[in-house]
Amino acid sequence: MYVIADLGLLQLLIRCTGPDRTGSGLLVLLLYVLISRENREVTRDRNRRERELMEADIVVSSRLSFKKMQSSEKYPKGQSTRRWKHLKQILQADNCPPDLPNYVNIESPPSTQPCKRICDVTGFEAPYADPRTNLRYANAHVFKTLRSLSPDQVHQYLSIRNAAVVLK
């Protein structure tokens, strides 16, 4: 942008240094000098920033000496990275003898103690539940705020507790 402005101004300057326009010509010359100075500053800034980035050295370089095959060759760009199996699939494909402890075996059992019921909004003990939305609340005051929640918020409160009805 600045370069174009420069050229334009240069043309204007040439045209202005004709016979009767010395005054405006001087003005244009002044503008030209100012803009070019700014230009230089901008490029200096940019260089400084790039150097800063390089000094921070946060980027992993793409060629590392100790690797037998570089990652850019191993995973060529554009190939879908969705070919990794998620944990669920790994566990399904894993056919391990059931008597030995394995990842699935050692899952904890569900709790035998009675479930603790706390109010969804405030965190107090909540002996009551709202029949319309299934949220738990502690007293009448909280109930009033419950009824004024938007369906969005209700859904979010329930999904924290994993109790939201999800339509697929």
Partner: protein, 741 residues
């Protein structure tokens, strides 16, 4: 912020330097001979790498990768670990969120793992043609063999590592603490980690995996819970609560209450202790420029203007009414004139005479006159005489039209019977209409009476009555507005946490429940026929659904009717009342504007109960919907699962040496809570000793480092040849023996 030696320090937490990221490139790689192993603690939160035998890992960083595009060059670069936000402006991060190689606590994304290992080895100073040191790397307990083998492949094939050993981080931590006398040879290690929590018993110095158990809850879930609670409590500031900020808050302020119920009661009753425990976070807030309160003159002037406006409106209404009456009167007079003219004209000339005016016959003319007179009377406000006239008509009609009614059936012919039926039908309908009219009259009388009562009340005490009306109006208006707002309020605050498809969010919970019932009933399991209606109970579905329907729709109508009535009443009697147009604020008298100004209070985030409600999920995972045991019960479950020979003695020894390790065990109050909890599930009098590891975060790495420094390390590791020859089954059974430590 940067420390003096150029390290990027992101230190948080209660004075402990455990969460520091250190990524300065090390320079002494070549001083280590190839026999010295490299030790890696590959955790879901942080990745630590260093040399065996040392006490501190050399390089520590957060185990995530981002691949943004460099703005200037356009190429995709890889950045590992925590980012300095100041440098982020060079990159276009729109399509690259932070990605982790972990799914729960198992590594599954080996491309990302490779980037991380690249970065780690690079910072360690590696510069040969391969990594020429044996590697000890940690994994989760009972890691699936696929993950293990892929990791081994990665290390052998890409980095050329000579030997690899896998170990469990919790076990290393326990052995390290045992070495230092913190815990004994038999015991249990409880490790609440980042995404999972493990309880592993140790018998004779070796972990017994058969007795271990794992709950899928960890520090990540605690932070997530805190973030969601705060976002819901302060939807206006929800953009402020990023995951990193929530993590900082958790590390600063969260603690574990010794007993949740009693702690909550303190807050519920608003005691002084609760006040002390509440923390406030003041967001930056600039008060808006205060408006100068309008002077007396201003107020008087505005009141006068409003009065004039009201007056003008009423005048306009009056004028309109008058003009309408005049119009109708003129029409009536012209019609009457027409009728009079008709009287003068002969019978036969009527059609031609009337064809100009547009009326077909005399009757039509007369009926039009009647209608206009009626509407005129209504406009003038005179009571209508129509009902009584109608009644007379029907009486006479009755006697005229139903001659056959009174004659009994057997004396009539079939045709006459048909006639009689028709007459009966007509009679019943007209009687019905009569009855309806009577009821309407009664209602009108009632309304008149009520209005008179209200008028009396008004005359007695005009101001008070006016105030009452105004208050009622405001209330009902608020209610109606709120309902409208609820109906149309989408995700106006940018809540992007809502799950489910778009349609599901806009429905209320009741509607969604109904849809769920419908979809489950209609779901075709593909077994062939749809047997929905075969059993009688199926149809009860509709009963369930319709009940909810009735509940919702009743209320809004009554509110809106109330609002209309109040509006009209106020318009009549209140000289300064101007009806509220939707969207504008109420302007009657000196009532303050509807939206109150945001005060400093609104920008203060109160973190009271959340301080101990969030870590509570470690002990009660069903608070977030995970149906598993919490920390304290895990110890019991683990003991129960042990294959036992000498049961009682082993159990006592186990509970007398319980070690807490892992990042989450830094939360204050955990030790006391665990002791209480475990005491509840063990037989009375059992010795219960719970200790915290010396450094819960770094001890895993230190234990691994001590293990690797041992001379017998290589006998526990396996080489590429071993891996190739022995195959997957052997790898499945591969375990290191920890007792060398």
């Amino acid at each position: 912020m940067t420390g003096d030696d150029g390290d990027q320090i992101n230190a948080v937490g209660r004075g402990s330097m455990s969460f520091v990221s250190r990524i300065r490139r090390q320079t002494d790689y070549n001083t280590y001979p190839p026999s010295i192993p490299i030790v890696i603690d590959n955790g879901a939160s942080y990745f630590r790498i260093g040399w065996a035998g040392e006490t501190e890992p050399r390089v520590v960083f957060r185990n995530i990768v981002q691949r943004p595009r460099h703005k200037a060059t356009g190429e995709t670069v890889t950045i590992v670990g925590d980012l300095d936000p100041a440098l982020m402006k060079y990159f276009d991060c729109t399509r690259s969120g932070p990605r982790s190689p972990f799914d729960s606590n198992v590594v599954y994304q080996f491309e990302i793992m490779e980037y991380i290992l690249d970065f780690a080895f690079d910072r360690l100073g590696a510069n040969g043609s391969r990594i020429d040191h044996p590697i000890l790397i940690t994994e989760c307990a009972c890691n699936p063999v696929q993950s293990r083998s892929k990791m081994a492949e990665l290390l052998f094939d890409t980095y050329g590592v000579p030997a690899v050993a896998f170990g469990v981080d919790a076990a290393f931590s326990y052995k390290y603490n045992q070495l230092h006398g913190i815990c004994k040879e038999d015991g249990i290690v409880l490790c609440p980690g980042f995404t999972t929590t493990h309880a592993i018993p140790f018998v004779d110095g070796e972990p017994v995996y058969k007795g271990s158990c794992r709950t899928n809850i960890g520090g990540y879930h605690v932070t997530d819970y805190l973030k969601q609670l705060l976002s819901l409590k302060y939807p206006f500031h929800s953009s402020r609560f990023t995951w990193e900020k929530a993590e900082d808050l958790k590390l600063e302020h969260c603690y574990i209450a010794p007993d949740y119920a009693s702690e909550v009661r303190l807050f519920q009753e608003g005691t002084k202790e609760a006040e002390e425990k509440t923390r406030y976070w003041q967001l930056p807030w600039i008060p808006p420029p205060t408006e100068v309160p309008p002077s007396e003159e201003e107020i008087a002037r505005k009141a006068a203007i409003r009065e004039k406006q009201g007056q003008r409106l009423r005048e306009m209404a009056e004028a309109k009414k008058l003009s309408k009456i005049n119009e109708m009167e003129s029409e009536l007079s012209s019609l009457r004139f027409l009728v009079k003219q008709l009287d003068q004209v002969d019978e036969d000339d009527i059609p031609t005479f009337l064809s100009d005016t547009g009326y077909a016959s005399r009757q039509e003319l007369e009926s039009t006159i009647l209608k206009v007179t009626q509407s005129l009377r209504k406009a003038r406000g005179e009571p209508m005489n129509e009902p009584s006239e109608g009644e007379e008509n029907t009486d006479s009609l009755n006697n005229e039209k139903y001659p056959l009614m009174n004659i009994p059936d057997d004396m009539l012919t079939p045709e006459q019977l048909k006639d009689k039926k028709r007459q009966m039908f007509l009679k019943s309908t007209t009687e019905g209409r009569l009855r309806a009219r009577q009821k309407r009259n009664e209602e009108e009388l009632e309304k008149e009476r009520r209005n008179q009562l209200e008028e009396e009340r008004r005359r007695e005490n005009p101001d008070f009555y006016l105030e009452e009306m105004r208050a009622q109006y405001k209330e009902v208006l608020e209610r109606v507005e709120q309902k409208k707002r609820l109906k149309t309020n989408g995700s106006s605050n940018g809540n992007n946490k809502s799950g489910g498809v778009g349609r599901g969010e806009r429905l209320s919970a009741a509607q969604r429940e109904r849809m769920r019932l419908l979809t489950t009933a209609a779901f075709d399991r593909g077994k062939g026929e749809d047997t929905f209606g075969a059993r009688d109970e199926d149809w009860q579905l509709y009963k369930l659904m319709s009940k909810d329907n009735d509940d919702d729709d009743e209320q809004p109508d009554s509110d809106e009717a109330e609002l209309a009535r109040l509006t009209s009443r106020l318009q009549e009697i209140d000289p300064t009342f101007v009806q509220k147009v939707e969207g504008e604020s109420l302007t009657s008298g000196e009532v303050p504007p509807r939206v109150r100004q945001l005060t400093e209070e609104d920008y203060k985030i109160v973190i009271g109960i959340e301080r101990f409600r969030c870590p509570e999920i470690l002990f009660h995972p069903n608070l977030v919907g995970i149906e598993q045991v919490g920390l304290d019960e895990m110890a019991g479950a683990s003991i129960r699962r042990l294959p036992h020979e000498e049961t009682e003695l082993v159990e006592e020894r186990l509970t007398s040496s319980i070690l807490m390790t892992g990042g989450c065990s830094l939360l204050p109050g955990m030790k006391e809570r665990l002791e209480c909890g475990i005491r509840m599930i063990r037989p009375c009098g059992d010795p219960i000793v719970v200790v915290r590891a010396m450094d819960p975060v770094l001890d895993a790495w230190r234990g691994a480092s001590a293990f690797a420094a041992n001379l017998n390390f290589l006998s526990n590791a396996f080489t590429k040849m071993d891996y190739d020859e022995k195959g997957e089954d052997w790898l499945r059974k591969y375990q290191i023996r920890y007792n060398n430590l």
